[in-house]
């Protein structure tokens, strides 16, 4: 089908975009890469009366560091995040996660901010943001604020953004020197949405002890989730194959899986266990030289 008619605005600055959002509120929809929005408009599942195209706001397209934080503009294309030498060197989990998004043609258009505000619980960037303890910077009529993932993601396809808020930036803290990581996902076909996506970070100390573990899971709950009790099992411990098994089992118990036509709830939960286990093994081998 073809989309319904809409009125089109193409602001050239954040201020202008926020003013438009403030004026039109719920009737307006922001379009960035459009890789999720335009299919919904073509199906007429989305019928915005006003479309605010932020692709002209070049000030929102950048990848840089501030202090030791990674700072990415909301309009930065997924392909640029994936291929950024800075991201690959210092935040490789993010580059790897992004490489799983759709296909290269999708990543050429799709943006980091668009993926976050779309808030699909199985999407790679939201799952990474949780693993990396990133934050999103939001601009509204009354100024800016920073939100952590647990404040930002509310449920399926729903964030805490107000109708006149614009996500402008993603901020990710530095990772310590000795960090093991993994990002893996299960999908039926290349480029499909993940049945389960798992991002892992392990911070170690010289003695080979895991100081802190982060386990972020996508596709297994209404938002991406951290397996906090599984992380607690690993923190401060010497890692063994048995402990990894236990943590993976615990992580699976922290899911709230639902069935869909790709997978039953039980299968999703068990695959969460398998992928957390493999991810922990991979991340641990990375910092511990194959044990």
């Amino acid at each position: 089908m073809k989309p319904c008619a809409f009125e089109y605005f193409s602001p050239q600055s954040v201020t202008e975009a926020v003013a438009l959002l403030d004026r039109y509120g719920d009737d307006a929809k922001i379009i960035a890469g459009g890789q999720s929005l335009v299919p919904m408009m073509n199906f007429r599942l989305a019928r915005p009366e006003i479309l605010i195209d932020i692709n002209g706001i070049r000030e929102l397209e950048y990848i840089k560091t501030e202090g030791d934080e990674l700072v990415i503009g909301a309009l930065t294309r997924e392909r640029d995040v994936e291929q950024s030498p800075l991201v690959i060197e210092k935040w490789p989990l993010l580059s790897k996660a992004v490489s799983y998004i759709g296909h290269s043609t999708i990543r050429n258009r799709g943006t980091i901010g668009g993926s976050l505000v779309h808030a699909d619980p199985s999407a790679e960037i939201p799952t990474s943001l949780c693993a990396l303890n990133g934050k999103v910077k939001v601009m509204g009529p009354s100024g800016e604020k920073e939100l952590a993932p647990e404040e930002f993601f509310l449920t399926y396809l729903t964030t805490s953004l107000e109708p006149s808020d614009l996500l402008v930036e993603v901020r990710i803290p530095a990772l310590p020197q000795k960090t093991g990581w993994s990002f893996r996902e299960l999908s039926r076909r290349s480029g499909d949405f993940a049945i389960v996506a798992v991002g892992i970070l392990l911070f170690t100390e010289k003695t080979g002890v895991c100081r802190e573990a982060r386990i972020s899971m996508g596709g297994v709950a209404p938002t991406p989730v951290r397996a906090e009790r599984a992380e607690a099992l690993l923190a401060g411990q010497k890692i063994s194959e048995k402990l990894i098994e236990q943590a993976a089992q615990q992580a699976a118990e922290e899911t709230e899986t639902e069935p869909d036509y790709h997978a039953s709830a039980e299968y999703r939960r068990d695959m969460a266990r398998v992928f957390v286990k493999r991810g922990l093994q991979e991340a641990w081998n990375m910092v511990n030289g194959g044990q």
Binding site: A5, F6, H103, I106, N108
Partner: protein, 159 residues
């Protein structure tokens, strides 16, 4: 009704100026307004890849953007591949290696492969498979598509 917008685009090196309704998809603009029907429209929701074109050098799905968003852009469609005398090496390889049967997906295959080979002149077969997985073909079973892209890469490296 919404007001039409005036846009200027360059397609395959030719400048066009047209008035479009904001809801006009880029693929419909190319096919219906510019009568460049080499770009095919399949699923209309970004799954099949048939409508892939190059937008400022990057392969994108023209069913997932509006023509107004292409204002000022440099676009290349499948019509831009061959010169008047001979096929582009990619097209020649698809012909030689039977990379198409019905031909519906072919414009998407070619434009996807075009960007890929620009970035990866000497790809492995696995890389070709991964990159071409975003375009659906219901005839070939993909084997010949992969063979064609590998052959095109070989020919293009010679030049």
């Amino acid at each position: 009704m919404t007001d039409n917008r005036r846009i200027m685009v360059k397609v395959n090196g030719v400048d066009y100026e047209r008035w479009v309704e904001p809801r006009r998809l880029l693929v419909d603009f190319l096919r219906d307004d510019l009568e460049l029907i080499g770009t095919h429209i399949g699923c209309e929701h970004g799954i099949c890849g048939s409508c892939t074109v190059l937008l400022n050098g990057r392969a994108v799905r023209s069913c997932l953007m509006f023509a107004v968003q292409a204002d000022g852009a440099d676009i290349m469609t499948v019509e831009g591949l061959a010169d008047s005398k001979q096929l582009h090496p990619l097209q020649a390889a698809f012909r030689e290696k039977h990379g198409l049967q019905c031909g519906f997906c072919t414009p998407g295959m070619l434009m996807t492969a075009y960007e890929f080979l620009n970035e990866h002149p000497d790809p492995s077969e696995a890389e070709v498979r991964k990159n071409m997985s975003g375009v659906l073909c219901r005839c070939t079973g993909y084997k010949q598509v992969v063979d064609s892209v590998m052959e095109a890469a070989r020919q293009m490296r010679k030049k």
